[in-house]
């Protein structure tokens, strides 16, 4: 290491505070699950999130009884909240895969302390996302018609349709994220099995750990499988939001029919996903006193990723506006005018402020290293990215080619209840997760310690 890198290394916060050993890392993370008593604040948060989840179930139950007519969707805006929320949630999931797969391939070791809960975030976000297209089907109980299976109607899905691509992309994404997360958990489940004092807990963790004993042969195959999964998940995660953007880009509607959509959607997905990672990491490290493992370095790195992807998103907005003007196409020009001056113009300005303007504070290290401010920026970005999807879906649809077919879209209380309900469900699942599974990967944290290195003997 030359002098210059030494100096910069010293200036940066460490990935893990010094002074930990294999044993203290193990005890600190596993005791959150095994020894920490249930606190009142956890119960209140869990209970509140549970209530919101009940509201979601109520909204879904009513939807099953009455049909999608209870939502604000109609012609011309047939997509509404359901698709806005779908795209938003699935985008959030992308940061988890980026952290666990892409940063693993890039040997970014700081990922080791945030990958576990980021992957959990991915799973819960994709579960929330998947709900919306299913509920939007009209007859959600027939969702299995989406899959190609031999049936008495001799009917098959239309594989030339992006909507069918989406079914395959999202279900593959969920499956791969689930197995990736689960095999990452196996060694830690074995740790919990061996640490648990409660017999039932030991048995349940034991069953889930599948008899993991840390054999060198097992580790070698395990590491290979983990690396291969990371290599597979990397193109997968890029493909998922690309396919989601195809749902729009393949259509001929002005505002949707553009080639910038795939990269711009993927960047936007990672942008909002890191914002969610920070919104989870900042309270978690405080409540569970994990500042030694999730350090300022992690927060700062996440902020840098947000800054970079945010600029890509800003470039996407600029391209859209430029093409609206430069193409000379009346419909594209009108779309731009409609965004700036139409009935939904406030959403477009809000989007520019939340996604392009405000996040520029992240340029400054002083602000990037303040958890409270980062939390606020993340909340603004998440809101902004939700509004972006609203702009894309609703503003493009509500005034298309023919003036006679124009219309307005107003969400109903059922739209809001379903959307807010999924937020509640997401938190509900997360409250459960932090109590029953190690939220930081214990075995990967061990590898970060200097003593984990094998020194050349003889």
């Amino acid at each position: 290491m030359d002098r210059e890198t030494q100096v910069t290394e010293r200036r940066r916060a460490p990935v893990i505070q010094p002074g930990y050993t294999f044993a203290t890392i193990t005890d600190k993370i596993s005791s959150i699950v095994l020894a920490r008593p249930v606190t009142n604040s956890w119960l209140v948060g869990f209970g509140f999130a549970g209530l919101i989840t009940m509201m979601l179930l109520y909204a879904i139950g009513y939807l099953f009884v009455r049909g999608v007519g209870i939502w604000g969707v109609n012609i011309p805006v047939a997509w509404g909240f359901a698709i806005v929320n779908f795209v938003w949630w699935i985008g959030i999931g992308h940061a988890g895969t980026l952290i666990s797969a892409i940063l693993l391939l890039l040997r970014q070791q700081w990922r080791n302390s945030i990958n576990r809960f980021a992957e959990a975030m991915t799973l819960f976000a994709v579960a929330c996302a998947g709900l919306f297209p299913l509920l939007h089907l009209g007859r959600p109980w027939l969702f299995y018609w989406l899959f190609p299976y031999p049936n008495s109607m001799t009917y098959w899905p239309q594989f030339r349709s992006p909507l069918v691509w989406d079914v395959f992309a999202v279900s593959t994404y969920f499956t791969i994220s689930l197995v990736f997360w689960f095999i990452g958990l196996i060694p830690d489940l074995a740790t919990l099995r061996d640490r648990a004092e409660n017999r039932w807990a030991a048995m349940i963790y034991g069953i889930l750990a599948m008899g993991w004993r840390g054999s060198a042969r097992h580790w070698k195959r395990y590491e290979k499988a983990y690396l291969l999964l990371a290599g597979l998940a990397t193109p997968l995660v890029l493909s998922v939001h690309t396919v989601v953007s195809f749902d729009f880009a393949i259509a001929i509607l002005p505002g949707w029919h553009t080639t910038i959509f795939p990269p711009y959607f993927v960047a936007g997905a990672i942008y909002s996903g890191f914002a969610m990672v920070l919104m989870l990491a900042i309270p978690i490290r405080k409540w569970y006193a994990l500042e030694d493992f999730i350090t300022i370095r992690h927060l700062e790195n996440s902020a840098k990723v947000m800054l970079a992807t945010g600029l890509i998103v800003a470039y996407g907005y600029a391209t859209e506006a430029f093409m609206g003007w430069y193409s000379g196409n009346d419909l594209d020009a009108f779309l731009l005018w409609n965004r700036l001056h139409g009935p939904y113009h406030l959403t477009y300005y809000a989007l520019l402020f939340a996604n392009v303007g405000f996040p520029q504070v992240l340029w400054f290290r002083k602000w990037r290293t303040r958890p409270g401010l980062l939390f606020l920026v993340s909340a603004v970005i998440l809101t902004g990215m939700w509004i972006e999807r609203f702009v894309i879906v609703v503003i493009s649809l509500h005034r298309d080619f023919l003036n006679s077919s124009w219309g307005m879209y107003y969400p109903t209380k059922w739209d809001w209840m379903t959307f807010i309900g999924t937020l509640g469900f997401f938190c509900f699942a997360f409250f459960l997760f932090v109590r029953i599974l190690p939220m930081i990967s214990i075995f990967e944290m061990r590898t970060l310690l200097p003593e984990a290195e094998v020194k050349e003997a003889e």
């Binding site: 060198a216 580790w219 999964l229």
Partner: protein, 178 residues
Amino acid sequence: MKRTPIYGLMAEFATPTDIVSAAKRTHEAGYRKIDAYSPFPIEELAEAIGFHREDVALVTLIGGLLGMFGGYILQYWIHAISYPTNVGGRPFNSWPAFIVVTFEMTILFAGLSAVFGMLALNGLPMPYHPVFNVARFAFATKDRFFLIIFSSDAKYDAAETRRFLESLEPRSISEVPS
């Protein structure tokens, strides 16, 4: 001499460096049926016990190819053979439109093959294993490293092997009942 059957002799070490050098020396001493346990992956350890082929990559490749061809053939069969639909005069076998699903099926099958292939090759799930009979072994998932010489090894001899393990200066030595 009839005694309770012994599965192997197990030695405990405190650092990754110790276990790797101990494993190397054991392998050099001619013991082949050996294994080592660590609370996190140590690349050098598998080398030290003489384990090189992991075969997971091959299983993943086969799974990925199956997914790829299976995915494409499914779409071809549906749209060109079973239920041909004319969409604006485009060919029934409109391959560019089939790429996305083919890609997703490749990833899905390759990923599941990697996971289940790894578990199957490792012989997991296996809830019971003789090494769990050693009380100290609970630390193998925390901060201790273990080396075992199986009694099925050709060179294994209860007294001789124990003496050999002692020469490696472990923290403790335990007999593993089978």
